[in-house]
């Protein structure tokens, strides 16, 4: 079970985070925070012509939250905002719905990557680590505010 969450893909993304950094001319910026564990993530991205043209994150946190942010940015880069919201929903349901089954995943290629977080469900106190980046993204996008500061629970 442990090896399922601390698998190679997660460890790799945690050690070598992709898209790490800050976009200073971002259209969206959010500082996500998990108060229970103190994890923080700063997410910046540029939405242009309804596409996520660039996305980067910075932050400190556990392996799960770092890897999740890294994989998320990889997955979202280049997607339309509609596609991005769909992926957020899939990810969110995967980690929160009791009756979620892999069959529901119609986004195959996405699941190959983000699916590594499926087993987090067995570690209830850690679910929020995996969802921090995603919630931050969703919030920033939804409220469409270029800059904001918020706590994600």
């Amino acid at each position: 079970m442990l090896s399922e969450i601390y698998g190679d893909l997660i460890l790799d993304h945690c050690r070598n985070p992709r898209n790490y950094g800050d976009i200073h001319n971002a259209t969206h910026r959010i500082c996500g925070h998990n108060p229970l564990c103190g994890d923080k993530i700063e997410l910046t991205f540029i939405v242009k012509d309804n596409h996520i043209e660039n996305i980067k994150f910075k932050g400190k946190g556990c392996a799960i939250s770092q890897a999740s942010a890294s994989i998320m940015t990889n997955e979202l880069l280049g997607k339309t905002t509609e596609e991005a919201i769909l992926l957020f929903n899939v990810f969110h349901e995967m980690l929160t719905r009791e009756d979620f089954s892999e069959k529901n995943i119609f986004v195959d290629s996405f699941f190959k990557k983000a699916g590594v977080f499926l087993n987090i469900k067995n570690f209830p106190t850690r679910v929020k680590c995996a969802t921090l980046a995603w919630h931050s993204f969703n919030l920033a996008l939804k409220e469409n505010k270029p800059q904001q500061n918020d706590n994600i629970n």
Binding site: P35, T125, N151
Partner: protein, 401 residues
Amino acid sequence: MNKLKMKNLNFPMLGKKTNNNRLVYLDNASTTFKHAYVIEAERKYETEYSANIHRGIYFISEKATREYEEVRSKVKHFINAKKETEIIFTSGSTGSLNLIAYSYGRTFLKKNDEIWISSLEHHSNIIPWQIICSEIGCKLRIIPINKDHTVKKIPFGKQAKLLAITCISNAIGVANPIRNWIKQAKERNIKVVLDAAQAVPHFKMDVQELDCDFLVFSGHKIYGPTGVGILYGKEKLLETMVPYQTGGDMVKEVTFQKTIYADLPAKFEAGTPNISGVIGFGAAIDFVNKIKFQPIAQNTIFQKAKEKLIQIGAKIVGEEFGKIQVPILSFTLQNIHPHDIATILDQKGIAVRAGHLCAQPLLNLLNVPALTRVSLGEYNTDNDIDSLIDGIKFVKKVLKC
């Protein structure tokens, strides 16, 4: 006394002896015996997953957190709240009422605002408001008690902001006409606090149907542990209120300069809570959910107690203000002082309450300095009433009346 099968009336206190007599416990409005399920649930926590909640990333802490939060969900269903976040665990009804007075008071009340209470209140729903009045400069107004108790119109002033009323008097078992009063309050956008400490053991309370803003009750009066109670509040209100107690676990971020509070319900639950108490409380709610509440008129033990007490010369107090709604019988007996009655009954193993019943203002209105109160729980039997009546005969004999 109710429809439950006897095997469910599993109370370790039943059958105990005191003063060489079978214990006949008739002080259930003060506190009830604990159901065996309750004791077992607490014991389980203390022997199988004893840990702090919310912050531990390890099995027993996660289990304790889950069990604790499940009780919140049980309470939500029990009183039909909309959300779990509307349920705050406190130390009891008194703690809940103090929380409302402090926190609602500081957020919403201003000088000369009126706080209305009824004449039937327990001290715990009087004094916190007196304090708010003296601090903020609000006015405490009392709904007058009248004979048929169908108070027509509460004379709310322009600045009436809060109506804090007990559902049932702990002293005389009479109900306030809460539906009527809530309606009057809502028409003027007055917030409503219900003290349901004496109601919850006997009635299904539905906060959405009642449309109250707050509701409080205690665990130890529904066969649960001491030291735990509930504050229900509408989410919108709780969200805007200031925290009451502050400290660990109710914050998002703390620096020496400032603090960002956590969301509901954590915002109102500072420090390590009464975890075993909350878990035992959940078991008590399971039990109460099984009780088929019955109208007092159908409660044969209560009716028998009442008749026999009257036969023997007791004067039941309070009925002039309305029908008794829960199995509480307060009485005077000739001019025998309640304390003498209680002392002598105790020698026969019979436990009743005597005194001002934490309702001095009501007793002043009734013009009695003290009362003897008999209050029944789910486990009381016909036999208990026989013992009580024999006991009172004995009182008269001892005092040569």
